[in-house]
Symmetry: C2
Subunit: 396 residues, 2 copies
Amino acid sequence: MTQDPLPESKIPNMPPRILLGPGPSQAHPRVLQAMAVPMIGYLDPDFMLILDEVSELLKRVFKTEESLTMSLSGTGSAGMEAGFTSLLEPGDTVVMCVYGFFCERMIDMAERVGANVIPLRAAWGKPFPPEMLEEELKKHDNVKMVTAIHAETSTGIRQPLEAISNLAKEHDALFMVDAVTSLGGNEVAVDRWGIDYAYSASQKCLACPPGLAPVALSPRAHEVVKARQRKPMSWYLDLALNANYWKGHVYHHTAPVSNIVGLREGLKIVLEEGLEARFQRHHRNAQALWAGLEALGLDLVAPDGSRLDQITPVWIPSGIDDDRVRQILLREYSIEIGKGLGEFAGKVWRIGLMGESSKAEYVLSLLSALEGILPRLGYEVPRGAGVGAASTALAD
Amino acid sequence: MTQDPLPESKIPNMPPRILLGPGPSQAHPRVLQAMAVPMIGYLDPDFMLILDEVSELLKRVFKTEESLTMSLSGTGSAGMEAGFTSLLEPGDTVVMCVYGFFCERMIDMAERVGANVIPLRAAWGKPFPPEMLEEELKKHDNVKMVTAIHAETSTGIRQPLEAISNLAKEHDALFMVDAVTSLGGNEVAVDRWGIDYAYSASQKCLACPPGLAPVALSPRAHEVVKARQRKPMSWYLDLALNANYWKGHVYHHTAPVSNIVGLREGLKIVLEEGLEARFQRHHRNAQALWAGLEALGLDLVAPDGSRLDQITPVWIPSGIDDDRVRQILLREYSIEIGKGLGEFAGKVWRIGLMGESSKAEYVLSLLSALEGILPRLGYEVPRGAGVGAASTALAD
């Protein structure tokens, strides 16, 4: 039997990119190398030692001694869904602090599992006011869970979590936190902040390829999953079954061994740099970016003091074509930045400086590129002012 | 702030293994190399070309021109769950042909999404009799879906699918097929066999690391997902949303770009070898294994004519310690084989010869190892008989 010849690849080799979008960010070369080793079985006794090590490293990165830490076999959104499908039963009430695109995704997911969803919608681009939650919780006596996003990448807001956590605790509710963009770039203190379920993603500040969702599950939340009346709607993302594999080494599904070995390397790199040093690096480079953008006359979405170091949404100047700028950046400068989502679509660019992508040279390259591009499109900027201001900030 | 030193890795380097279990099988070195290239954005226009190419290559491997082909961002079980959560609504009737461990997993998943599940349990270790389905379908007038597993890895049975498909069609039901272990090792003819939803996994006969579930969705099944009254319970595994990303390039979740680039390479390797040649290789090496095991006096679970080439369950001789043999194989010979599942736990070993693991040298090494191990544990075998018989079969 003859076969048709293979179609010719339009992209035989992956083009080089400077990834300054919302993720994936650059993967660390050591992670890529670690992932390229030959396969091993997902129940191999030696691989069980690797699982244990990853779990231990995650405890340090999540700052938890109490919680069970593991990675789920999907991207960050799988971590989000695992929380809803495992911690909520149909009819359970969940109160959601909503202040961006990914908060809206949470609502969709929780509704799908049949929860009684109470969204508290606050303005985008500002931290969520805990008073709003306090008011709402007074009206209910049976709230099962409260949710918040630590780092809303659609708005660039860093959300303080302790006040929200305290309110959840006062009302005996579980506290679920999206740490997708924050973990490894900002402090995430699971125990100190009383987080019952936190999930993250491998491809942002942990500098691994996308495909895994590291999570931390508190003893209380773990009990809730185990004591369910009816099984979670998802078998694949059932936190109890996944925990049985990570802790009891009981077969669940074929774990993505290469990605897990890569995550181990990524976590080691995070801890070798040191959490505090890593947070400071993210902050320093972000400050340089902010200074540079402002020197070009651009306005940042998030107010000073509430800004995420990992991702900076910036208002697109009026008259400037969103797509065009991103296309030129990609094709002429090999730089990817992110577009706006939801109500910010077409209105903002989102510039990520996460993990391996948080580097001074990338900040300078991007600002220099913008100094070249924007005037071509009719938006005059003081040439050199962006890189100058960034350079000054970096030297401080 | 000082930090505790990192825990010392117990397994700093991945130990070499010959993987003859139920998967992951050996990954092709070209796949591992392809995955080690720097990251690219999941909405990058160049990555969209890679998505299109993977989709096109999958069409050839699934033998479909009609179906939408893509990979889901999870392992094979995620592909299974995506079918139930997307194609069934609560109360929908699904009739399941059940003849092994993974068929039982299907029941669990379908029950979780609230379907009316009718399991037709037939004996393990034999093909499912279509008459059983025919009888059952006569009793209902509203069956939404019929399911079957092409290659039940718990029993080693290759299930003919056309009779089952015809019955499903006669009753206007969707036909969902598990092709996790068969795709790339046996013919899977989606169009010719009238399969509405087929899912597979990257880590078996496609010789990629685990982490992706390639799927094929017929136009009819796609319509069913789009026309649902209520959204699928899973957002992450919603086939319509995933299809929007693969075909419409609309953001859904951060796709695991490295795994997808690896899958592209794996599919190219499959098609370069040629599907027929690849199936023949799997069959030739399996025949050699069967001849060798039988020459050692071991009994195979599946009857000749219904055996899978990819995985061979073999009865453990009485008095022989299951764990002990697998431990010695792993520690002294670096060979992994699989254990029994469900009602076959402790009773069978499962020997996989899939993708890059389907090689004559591995067949001979395993038989030679068994010739050395079994007599040490009190089960005498005619020395050299296993490798002799395998070698003869290979030469034929």
